[in-house]
Symmetry: C2
Subunit: 341 residues, 2 copies
């Protein structure tokens, strides 16, 4: 079970049995979030700054972090604090897990997306050659601290980014209230902080049943086979696209695949897709033009096995099936049928 | 408990429930060892070749390996086989442990050193900025296969290299027969393959009691605080020095420190040092001239905590004490007092 603490770092009171403390921030969280940590912590800590953005979740950034730890003589009893979104958490967790064969670390997610998703579940990783999380490990933090104060630093684009994974949780969970809270209301009337504990509970339950993603954890990949391909292709083209923005399109496509392969109800599918189109800006023309390249990315997805392209698809709301194979033709057709959306 | 299998790969019969098989070799083991594996295995495998030598245990080599796995669409059910000495095992194990958050791997050590030491105990790692194993993780192989046929491919220098860790085991273990087999006989009359099982047993017992090196596993670091510094400095200077050659000097120095700090018996110390000098070529002048730089390397040793330079030293044979602090003056004096050896 992941150890989650709601509140501020002050309330959690980091035990000072560490030989040194290193705080990883990106250029954004250095400016907006680091000042919210207590001076008693930040003044004694070594602040390591990485450039912001998924394109910096690289081996070069990892090397820089390992070197900065080593230059400060960080030993095995050092503590790393990852203060940032998913990129900082994934990269910092990877470096903590591999520096001198593993030091302790704490996740302090600062975006809605990382609070409900990447900071839960012990995954760490970096991208290589445009493939997301090609290199990484499962490595649990000491604690994940959820501090709502950071939500006020976020733009509405960042909030929508986080909602993508919240929507995913509402679709894959048997639990009913989250779905109703989202799809029966105007998104902008939701208060995201009220949704966080339920989202963490949904994700944690799935993770705890299958921590190493052998089977049921793959439900969390709904929307992600297509979504990761979109994200990777956007990165390669230098298009500014957030993870949630890619995943929301991924879910639209994979809802279509869910109907085609598993008979997911069409009316419910249309309702969800319409709701998404009302709330997100979707560039369907771009998806169509990139369809073949997206298919190529999917073929190198970690979820695959024996060169089959595998998806986690929905039979109905709350009933997800992992390892559903779709053939190239169906995938291409679905990607290209954008005008009918 | 590590799973060790004596015999050939054929006898072990790798279960073919892997989606693909990747064999990591270096330029030496490609030539001398790969042909000893069954064609049924090598013909279906993707052979990944890394340059030989500790200086290639780098992040660049790791990147090359991750890329070669990815280019062959290796998925999470792929198998890596590390066929080589400690460098291939450490590097390959690290890449296996971090590729797509971990794939299975098998160690087939081909040197005496790796059979009795690095292939046992689940440590993987790469060097960074001249610091040995600065980056790595604990990641157990499926099995370590000890195949004596590879010993015939080794030079006498490589055999002596392996004996360094065998000597260490004989000094730190309570067990008596190994010590007698070495120090009461001419080294060249020993048959190394007969010593291997006892050495693996000694190391495995220590590892199993403390797999993550919190306390008693540190006994295995006897000779290594100084030895790693010597190895790192030699690498930086481009001097051709094997791990065991550095460790053997490390043990001579740390035996002196053991007498100074813990009262290790002088007569036994002298007997061991004399025996080492009879069997190994030791360049004491170089150690003296590098003393200050060696001290600097020791200060960045993973074994340290709170900037103290820590050693695993011997109170007597079979009685090792971890985390013994030595001050700079004593370390320097001991390194420089080489003419009295």
């Amino acid at each position: 079970m992941s150890f989650i603490k709601y509140g501020s770092v002050e309330e959690y009171k980091i035990e000072f049995d560490y030989s040194s403390i290193h705080i990883l921030v990106d250029s954004n969280t250095k400016k907006h979030c680091l000042p919210k940590l207590p001076a008693s912590l930040t003044e004694q800590a070594n602040i390591i700054i990485v450039k912001s953005g998924e394109m910096h979740k690289t081996i070069d950034s990892a090397k820089m972090i390992w070197e900065k730890l080593s230059n400060k003589n960080a030993d095995r009893k050092a503590l790393m604090i990852c203060l940032g979104g998913g990129m900082v958490g994934d990269l910092g967790g990877f470096c903590a897990g591999t520096y001198k064969r593993g030091i302790k670390y704490i996740q302090i997610p600062t975006t809605l997306l990382s609070m409900v998703d990447s900071s839960i579940g012990n995954k760490t990783g970096i991208d290589l050659n445009g493939i997301k999380n090609l290199v990484g490990l499962f490595y649990p933090p000491q604690v994940t601290i959820i501090d709502h104060r950071f939500l006020v630093t976020l733009s509405s684009r960042q909030i929508l980014n986080g909602y993508a994974e919240i929507i995913k949780h509402s679709l894959i969970a048997k639990e009913e209230t989250l779905f109703d809270q989202i799809f029966e209301k105007d998104l902008l009337k939701c208060e995201p902080e009220k949704l966080i504990p339920l989202n963490i509970e949904i994700k944690s339950q799935i993770v705890d049943q299958d921590p190493l993603e052998q089977n049921s954890r793959k439900w969390l990949n709904f929307g992600h086979t297509v979504g990761h391909a979109i994200e990777a292709q956007a990165m390669q083209k230098g298009i500014d696209m957030l993870h949630g923005e890619a995943i929301i399109i991924g879910m639209m496509i994979e809802l279509e695949l869910s109907t085609a392969k598993l008979g997911f109800p069409q009316d419910l599918r249309n309702k969800i897709i319409d709701w998404i189109k009302d709330n997100y800006r979707i560039d369907a023309d771009w998806i169509k033009s990139e369809a073949k390249r997206l298919l190529n990315f999917m073929k190198n997805d970690k979820k695959n096995h024996e060169k089959r392209t595998l998806f986690s698809l929905l039979k109905s709301k709350g009933d997800c099936i992992e390892n559903v194979e779709c053939d190239d033709k169906l995938i291409l057709q679905t990607l290209q049928r954008h005008r009918k959306w």
